[in-house]
Symmetry: C2
Subunit: 342 residues, 2 copies
DNA sequence: ATGAAAGCGCTAACAC
DNA sequence: GTGTTAGCGCTTTCAT
């Protein structure tokens, strides 16, 4: 079975013949790194146009060139959270003629590792890794190879790792502190996946704010969520069934905040009159809900953009040592948090 | 500059040496199509494991194999609409060990064509094209090559094209008819991009419903939108400034319906009391708004899944001639449309 | 059942 | 400045 896919594809050799030059000259024109006589270049360009030549990226990559593809590892594509990040990534990739190859892990650790290895095998020039679940399983081997990667939304403990993140600790602190300042004393928290640093940081911010205000941290006010709406719903339901019900809940992301609000409604409670809620992320939907969601904003698009820029920079100048970035978060005061009733 | 990327990568030859066989045998084991002696196979498998072998997809593809990559062309990644479709695509791709390569056109026609050609050049085994803007520019060449592709959400006029779509005409009809049945007589419409068949179909459904009810189609009640929230806002604003204001508006997708609602609010009007609104798509956010959006549901995930299945089927059995699918739409009655005041 | 060898299309030395 | 040539890692004949 001879390949029929590319059988009638025009290659560099066809162009060479058409232009009456050797095919390495064509390669030079295509890559335009080395100097080529303007006349020759023109002839080649003409021939390329006439024949409708297109590089074969596989061949290029195999031959030692670059693939001009960036791999992106994501847990799940369907969230607005990811949508925002990806749009940032895509912005800068498009501006630099890079392509995006997407791998969705669906939160399966095994896949995470398999994908990373595959991409690092030549498919991609560099890797963007978002929300890694078990990074140590493969990051070590990437490091050994010197394969470039940047982690998004994960404050890596490994000093040599490059990452872009938001200040989750401060965000958690601010959210909680805002509720405290409004007068709340019993403040519940619905956390995210606790195997993620960002989720832990938000929790620690919550605890620190409590401590700074002289408020006790009570285990019964903590519900381990999973950054999902059902998770938020369950969390909200549990917390609201407590004998001494919290007057406010800090949900570790907007989606779970929406779940919490749903739970409150299911119990006949009104938000914010009977329960104040603060989320995290500030996804586009947050402003569209009614009441509009008070939340902590992290600059997701910007994080995607920065991570991508860092990676491309690394690709261009392997000697560079860019610095990881931690973006500040910002409390966005809207309608779901008010002083407690009494 | 010798490639450093793959310098220390283990290849098929390393495995061959380790296992004491020729490297074509290793290839056979890897692809396990031809028969290989069980013992030999075992030895090779062991060696692969020991060495941590991973195929180089570029080499495979170059040598005439498949890339196991599906290309997806999208206008814009950030919408929930796309998110839903992609998640459907991703579902079935993951189940079949295919990878997803994403190309975002940002609505630039030129990019659309360039990308398609590039992918068809070997990067991808098949193409999924969503919301094409100017398909005729490149579909012809794909057809000539016999390169497999499926179009998503575009009812192609070309009989040989394979597509998956929803019944946009019926959806538009149902939405409008529902408003008519509620008692509305002046019903505005905010359309989508009119170069898209689906947008035109929705409009025609609207017109047909009007006609069937003996209602005139008035040009001033039509606003050409662009499927965006600002577009919906502008449309809503214009329509609500009409001397004789419509009592209901059919927005051609949920996002622009949200814009229409925003416009109504900006004018001090309440939805649905002063204005009924019906959207299209039923994106997840539609149910989260308050009031909840009445809309026409199209099964986006399912559309993504079906298209992908069709494509993979085509890849497996090139002789197959699957049929294009038009999914039924479904009116989802929620809270934004009620009988007109009076 | 397995080995040998010819490319796939391209890049990057190396000559001239 | 341009041509020649040796691979990149793999699949696939063609032998044996």
């Amino acid at each position: 079975m001879k390949r029929n896919k590319s059988s009638n594809e025009v290659t560099i050799k066809d162009v060479a013949k058409e232009a009456g030059v050797s095919y390495s000259t064509v390669s030079r024109v295509v890559n335009n790194k080395t100097y080529v006589n303007p006349d020759t270049r023109d002839r080649v360009l003409q021939a390329m146009l006439r024949l409708g030549y297109q590089v074969n990226l596989h061949a290029r990559s195999l031959a030692g060139g670059q693939s001009n593809v960036i791999g992106l590892l994501v847990v799940d594509l369907t969230t607005q959270y990811m949508g925002e990040i990806i749009s940032g990534i895509d912005d800068v990739l498009a501006a630099h003629q890079y392509e995006l190859m997407l791998y969705t892990t669906h939160r399966r650790k095994a896949k995470e590792s398999a994908y990373v290895h595959m991409m690092a095998r030549g498919l991609a020039d560099g890797l963007l890794i978002s929300l890694p679940r078990e990074p140590e399983a493969y990051l070590k081997s990437l490091r050994q190879k010197g394969f470039p990667y940047v982690i998004i939304d994960h404050r890596s403990e490994e000093p040599s790792d490059l990452f872009v993140s938001a200040n989750n600790y401060q965000g958690g602190y601010d959210a909680t502190n805002y509720l405290i300042e409004l007068g709340h004393r019993r403040i519940g928290i619905v956390t995210g996946w606790m195997d993620m640093v960002s989720a832990r940081d938000r929790l620690q911010g919550y605890q620190a704010a409590l401590a700074d205000a002289g408020l006790p941290f009570e285990a019964e006010l903590l519900f381990q969520g999973d950054f999902s709406q059902p998770g938020g719903f369950n969390g909200g339901t549990c917390l609201l069934e407590l004998a001494e019900r919290p007057s406010a809940i800090f949900a570790s992301n907007d989606i779970s905040a929406m779940g919490v609000i749903e739970a409150a409604r299911a119990k006949g409670l009104q938000v914010p009159r009977d329960l104040s809620v603060v989320g995290f992320d500030d996804i586009p939907t947050a402003a569209l809900l009614s009441p509009q969601l008070t939340t902590v904003r992290q600059p997701l698009q910007e994080m995607g953009r920065s991570a991508t820029k860092m990676l491309l920079d690394l690709l261009k100048n392997p000697e560079d040592t860019p610095e990881s970035i931690i973006f500040p978060t910002e409390l966005v005061v809207r309608e779901t948090a008010v002083p407690p009733a009494e």
